[in-house]
């Protein structure tokens, strides 16, 4: 791992690396250098297997975090490469020329989060949802419960209890 750290730091001084557990590392890099870093990891260091490409919505910081999880099959190491992109008009460069499967992940991110990957094959065709006209559903500002109650016809008579409040009332009724 230390050799990897040194190699990465010499080529990409902006990258930060830290350990989660043995065999699993975090790496963080600015958005513009991400594709170069991923290509370097794939071609030079031998991280041939793209396990996952996903996004997290940090609405408080007004950012999306994109995580690319790469795996080295020979050395058995995983790296979670993270980058942050701004939340308004999010776009990112595509990596489908490195891995053909990345096109599927990018289609899903485009539909569910609204992150555009220009140049990825079929990225603007709907992948999972049909006839969807609202904001991309996985964003934090989409309230799924409100949408479900308004659009579908929920059966009346449903009572939902917050488990904490319910147990408090049941076990300590005098403290209310």
């Amino acid at each position: 791992m230390n050799t990897l750290l040194d190699n990465i730091k010499t080529v990409f001084p902006n990258a930060e690396v830290w350990t989660q557990r043995k065999g699993l590392y975090h790496m963080s890099i600015p958005k513009e250098q991400l594709v170069t870093l991923v290509t370097h990891l794939k071609e030079v260091e031998g991280y041939l297997h793209l396990v996952q490409l996903t996004a997290v919505d940090w609405i408080e910081k007004n950012q999306f975090q994109l995580t690319y999880i790469l795996n080295n099959p020979n050395k058995r190491i995983d790296i979670m490469v993270k980058t942050f992109i701004p939340r308004d008009n999010p776009t990112m460069e595509t990596i489908h020329h490195l891995w053909e499967q990345a096109a599927t992940y990018q289609r899903e991110l485009r539909e569910m989060f609204g992150i555009d990957f220009p140049g990825s094959p079929r990225v603007d065709k709907p992948f999972i949802l049909e006839g969807w006209d609202n904001i991309p559903p996985y964003r934090r500002d989409f309230d799924t419960k409100k949408y479900a109650e308004e659009t579908y016809f929920p059966r009346p008579g449903r009572e939902t209890h917050d488990p904490k409040e319910y147990m408090k009332k049941k076990l300590y009724p005098d403290e209310i």
Partner: protein
């Protein structure tokens, strides 16, 4: 075979007991119980729409044999009379289900499996599943559970047969009578409607 083989006679069974046999009598058909009147064979459309499809497979195997109750699976809607909605329905599947349901011929019935068809079940706050099936399709029998056991599904079929014998299997007629209401509900949630409207 000689003529004497076709006469009534007494033979020795493998247990050592003498029994009387008549080779020209159809024992199988005569042994049908005369207590229940015969019901239509229940021909189920083999479309597993959700989680429940996994509990329909054991029904086709000899352990929970559904065939002895007269239930068979057919591949197309034109040949089937019962549609089992097995679990949740997403909006995309609902469009296909409606199209298949309208292609089935009368008399047709809908059995709703699982708690997702009753009130949304575990996905009650999901943006892609429907919460009440009977606003979109007329349901005859609900089977509760998540997933119901194969024995529960067989009990549900028995209930359906009882309803049919009593003359209460009116789902298809309800659909035709309240057609506008059902269509309005369906069109409200299926936003890209591109299938033909039946108007009988």
């Amino acid at each position: 075979m000689s003529k004497s083989d076709l006469e009534k006679r007494t033979v020795m069974s493998p247990d050592g007991e003498p029994i009387e046999i008549n080779p020209l009598q159809d024992y199988f058909c005569d042994a049908r119980p005369k207590v229940h009147e015969p019901v239509l064979p229940i021909l189920v459309l083999g479309f597993g729409t959700g989680c429940g499809a996994i509990e329909m497979r054991p029904l086709m195997t000899p352990r929970f044999d559904a065939y002895r109750f007269g239930i068979q699976w057919r591949p197309t809607p034109r040949q089937s009379s019962v549609f089992i909605i097995s679990g949740y329905l997403s909006v995309k599947t609902l469009k296909r289900v409606i199209r298949s349901y309208e292609q089935m011929q009368n008399p047709k019935f809908v059995i709703a499996l699982g708690s997702c068809t009753i009130n949304g079940g575990m996905y009650w706050d999901s943006y892609n599943t429907i919460k009440r099936l009977d606003h979109y399709l007329p349901v005859d029998v609900y089977i509760a559970g998540c997933m119901p056991r194969p024995e529960a599904i067989l009990a549900g079929f028995e209930k359906l047969k009882e309803l049919i014998r009593q003359g209460k299997g009116e789902g298809a007629n309800l659909y035709a009578k309240n057609f506008d209401w059902y269509k309005a509900n369906q069109k409200k949630i299926i936003k890209d409607w591109d299938i033909p409207d039946y108007n009988w």
